[in-house]
Symmetry: C2
Subunit: 229 residues, 2 copies
Amino acid sequence: MSDLNKPCIICVAITGSLPRKANNPAVPITITEQVESTHAAFEAGASIVHAHVRNDDETPTSDPDKFAKLQEGLLKHCPGMIIQFSTGGRSGAGKERGAMLSLKPDMASLSVGSNNFPTRIYENAPDLVDWLAREMITHNVKPEIEAFDLSHIHQAALMHKDGRIKDTPYIQFVMGVKNAMPADKDVFDYYVKTVKRLSPNSQWCAAGIGPNQIILNEWSVAAGGHART
Amino acid sequence: MSDLNKPCIICVAITGSLPRKANNPAVPITITEQVESTHAAFEAGASIVHAHVRNDDETPTSDPDKFAKLQEGLLKHCPGMIIQFSTGGRSGAGKERGAMLSLKPDMASLSVGSNNFPTRIYENAPDLVDWLAREMITHNVKPEIEAFDLSHIHQAALMHKDGRIKDTPYIQFVMGVKNAMPADKDVFDYYVKTVKRLSPNSQWCAAGIGPNQIILNEWSVAAGGHART
Ligand SMILES: [Zn+2]
Ligand SMILES: [Zn+2]
Ligand SMILES: [Zn+2]
Ligand SMILES: [Zn+2]
């Protein structure tokens, strides 16, 4: 994990949970496509890969066998790259979301609160959050906290303080999601200030959804954070 | 609604959705107890009553008949007091939560996002939020926005801008709820700053849960907001 100390980490999210080939023919869906797409990003300088996996019909899944095959390919093609698996709620429900943690990826995403998404609730009930966090400790997986709102930064700092998160949290601000937090510069600056106040040794990065991605990367790099592409 | 322009509004929440007689024998449960308790607060200077209703076994309910009886008693005993009904999620699910809006109370609480509560998710799905907001417009009920997190203030400002909320939002900051936003002075100040930036004509107040209530009232009154007792 020493790469986390590099001045600017570029994290590549090769495949989200939603876009399909019909939306963008370039989106890598099969494990082979995902490995090759990550390989290209790795050669271009990306040091973390944030990965979701898909079924053959392109629907999102939390299937640990798919994650295992992806991990195998990534370890071979991208040696030294930090592998981060998504435990996000679009790919499964309840403990299914953490079924791949026993594969011991370097990192996994961890949502610590609930919020609204464009058409539904992003459900992260307190007991599920605590279970995922415990699984990450058990399998020595560093969590990336997905902060969809301000209280999630407070919750991450609290969970670190009381031992539910072992390492200093690595926090990602997610902005521009409809019905959650918009991409707002004043909020971004306050997020950075809050991380420095509550969790001074934390690293952080920012992810903007859709057209907000480039703006968020600019804000993030200018403020000393990492970038998500 | 001209009372909203008074320098400091005192809002009394006579009965929450949770405390029972076993926790506090003074908690008013029956309609008669609630009316008399509100009457006492009204004489002491409270100008808004935030009301939940209960079943005979003390469990919370959204029953419109109970709300109608409460409203009848309040109109008689507390003439001129602003009546605010809770549409909160502890008392019912889905559209049940707005069944009393046709009674045309002066105000009703409106949650515009989802968040975690101590042991569960506080579920306010986007379509339910929009339906409750529409019902409030239909029945000329002013919403009090319950801001459990920062994005809720942004969402309220957006809903006002796009017409889903008719009047300037009246916003209540709720702090000190476990797994949601803690009672944090820096966040409180940033909430006030955000309301002034996004919704400059909004009135706001603050509610602290349990032991945080007095602290929040102090912060609120000192910053020019209203108080919830
Ligand atoms: Zn390759
Ligand atoms: Zn993801
Ligand atoms: Zn209430
Ligand atoms: Zn009376």
